[in-house]
């Protein structure tokens, strides 16, 4: 799920960046430091959308660096257990399939794929129903349910299922 939230961070800036462009330098350093990172609490920071406030700078003893408390708005992405997501399949093998929803890597085990879908090996490994009407292969879009999440410093891993109603393939690239 996406959230639009306000976060705060203490940014350290070297005096060489002071002057007319101080604010710009501060903001671009913030973006470089924060966009694309993860935290357990907020998830993946997708993009900074605005700066709410920049507090007074404090010179640090002994170094000359200045610390600015910055409040900024950003869009974060955090999957939750129980959430329904759409993801793109990246790899299919006999253990199940891997899919990606943006920065989130999801694994759906064979145990959580409907029993009537069989693994077909070959050039383009896939899971297919016995009548061939539904096929899960690389580049497919699937709707899945998250049953567990884990957040790292830079990555988010999820375990998912498609065994419930209304889950599974939503767009077959092979179809016309």
């Amino acid at each position: 799920m996406f959230f639009h939230i306000v976060l705060e961070r203490n940014m350290q800036l070297h005096p060489r960046f002071f002057g007319r462009n101080l604010r710009e330098n501060l903001v671009s350093k913030l973006m470089k430091d924060v966009e694309g990172t993860c935290s357990g609490r907020h998830g993946f920071v997708v993009a900074i959308t605005g700066i709410e406030s920049i507090g007074k700078g404090l010179i640090r003893d002994g170094t000359g660096f200045v610390t600015f408390p910055v409040k900024y708005q950003c869009v974060v992405f955090r999957p939750f257990k129980g959430e329904i997501l759409e993801a793109v399949v990246t790899l299919v093998n006999k253990m199940g399939f891997f899919a990606e929803a943006g920065p989130v890597q999801i694994f759906v085990s064979k145990h959580l794929i409907p029993d009537d879908m069989e693994f077909q090996a070959g050039d383009m490994p896939n899971y297919t129903t016995s009548d061939g009407s539904v096929k899960i292969q690389k580049e497919c879009e699937v709707r899945l349910k998250i049953i567990g999440t884990r957040v790292d410093a830079t990555e988010i891993f999820c375990v998912g299922t498609i065994k419930d109603d209304f889950l599974g393939v939503i767009n077959d690239p092979a179809a016309g």
């Binding site: 253990m95 890597q105 694994f107 085990s109 959580l112 050039d123 049953i147 891993f157 375990v159 065994k163």
Partner: protein, 382 residues
């Protein structure tokens, strides 16, 4: 349903984990089971699940009439060298490298970004094409993961032979050792092709040892050979008669024996036994006596050379008699050697047995006479 297992966590068997979460119920798990990094760095499977996957696979193998083949890279399918190690006599190679944009048809590649040059072994493309019709293939190398992936791109640009089945030293479970523990196939259905026997301490019966491919001078140096490398001699292994062509024949034989009876349930068959059978045909019918080849204190039957001869189908004995066909000696003056000459039996040095083992075919005895050995030793001393 398993998806609702959060309320019945006690019943979930936790067959494996992704990111330290059980991939059936989502519960957080300590690191258990075997790491399958080559599939995904966060993937782990417990032993029961590995067995289940291997068992469920048998039906697929039966229908496809396929077995598993695990292939080593260095000195088996190719030879690589660091650019810095190229000798002046090898500099000419720099102008013969093939494009990396479209690798089909090429066999010599330069990868500046890895500071490396790689030469594919002759016949490797035909080998992979034909083997892929009989085997699901894995790469298993002691190189690191980026090296393994790059070599796979050279050998298999379409990803049709190996898929995601590329195991590097970063994916193995025990350092400096290769094992079938991360291969998702029954051990009774796996053959291995590697130039280094000791890399596979637990799977010697699955292993076909292939002659090392030394193209670059650095490779010869590494193994302490005094001879010039193929690149320095501006030569190469023969395509139709080379090691890969020979091994392909052996693979075809073992595969044919395994799937001999079309409808037979293969879960009772063992490809290791098929391999033994193929090997036992090589020196079948010959009786060998060894003369001053083994240290006197040891039991001859325990010596690796004795066992090798028996594995090749020969009968071994300690005393001569009329049924003996070959005497293996390292010098002409021994009693048994003189007996052999009198009785018009073959006298060969141990290379005759080693060659049969490596080349999967009985070799002409004339090429392994003791005069040959003396000549060879003479040139080595010079």
């Amino acid at each position: 349903m398993l998806a609702e297992a959060s309320s019945s966590k006690g019943e979930c068997e936790h067959p494996g984990s992704f990111g330290n979460m059980c991939f059936v119920c989502g519960q957080k798990l300590e690191e258990t089971g075997v790491s399958f990094r080559y599939i995904h760095k966060e993937m782990r499977l417990n032993q029961d699940e590995i067995s289940r996957l291997r068992d469920s696979d048998m039906g697929f193998l039966q229908r496809q009439r396929k077995l598993y083949l695990v292939l080593d890279l260095d000195h088996t399918l190719l030879n690589s060298t660091i650019l810095r190690d190229l000798k002046p006599e090898e500099e000419y190679l720099n102008s013969h490298t093939h494009s990396l944009q479209d690798v089909s048809g090429g066999s010599l590649f330069k990868m500046e970004f890895m500071h490396m040059m790689t030469k594919l072994r002759p016949f490797v493309h035909s080998f992979l094409k034909e083997a892929s019709e009989m085997f699901v293939m894995y790469i298993y190398t002691m190189g690191d993961r980026p090296y393994a992936r790059q070599m796979a791109k050279l050998l298999d640009p379409k990803g049709e032979y190996f898929g995601d089945r590329i195991i590097s030293r970063d994916d193995g479970t025990v350092r400096h050792q290769k094992s079938l523990d991360v291969v998702l196939g029954q051990e009774s259905a796996v053959l291995i092709l590697d130039d280094t026997e000791n890399a596979w301490p637990n799977h010697k019966d699955n292993l076909i040892v292939i002659e090392r491919y030394h193209f670059f001078a650095s490779s010869c140096r590494q193994f302490d050979h005094k001879y010039k490398s193929l690149s320095e001699l501006k030569s190469d292994e023969s395509e139709p008669d080379g090691a890969l062509a020979t091994v392909l024949k052996v693979l075809k034989q073992a595969h044919a024996l395994f799937f001999e009876n079309v409808d037979e349930d293969i879960s009772n068959k063992d490809v290791r036994l098929m391999l033994k059978q193929v090997r036992k045909e090589i020196l079948k019918g010959f009786k060998v006596v060894f003369s001053r080849v083994f240290p006197t204190k040891a039991k001859p039957e325990d010596h690796p050379l004795w066992k090798m001869a028996e594995d090749l189908g020969a009968t071994c004995a300690t005393e001569v008699d009329a049924s003996v066909t070959h005497v293996v000696a390292m010098e002409m003056g021994t009693e048994k050697a003189r007996w052999a000459v009198r009785e018009k039996k073959f006298v060969v040095h141990r290379g005759w047995i080693d060659a049969a083992n490596y080349l999967w075919k009985k070799q002409p005895e004339e090429n392994f006479s003791l005069e040959q050995l003396k000549k060879q030793q003479g040139t080595e001393e010079e």
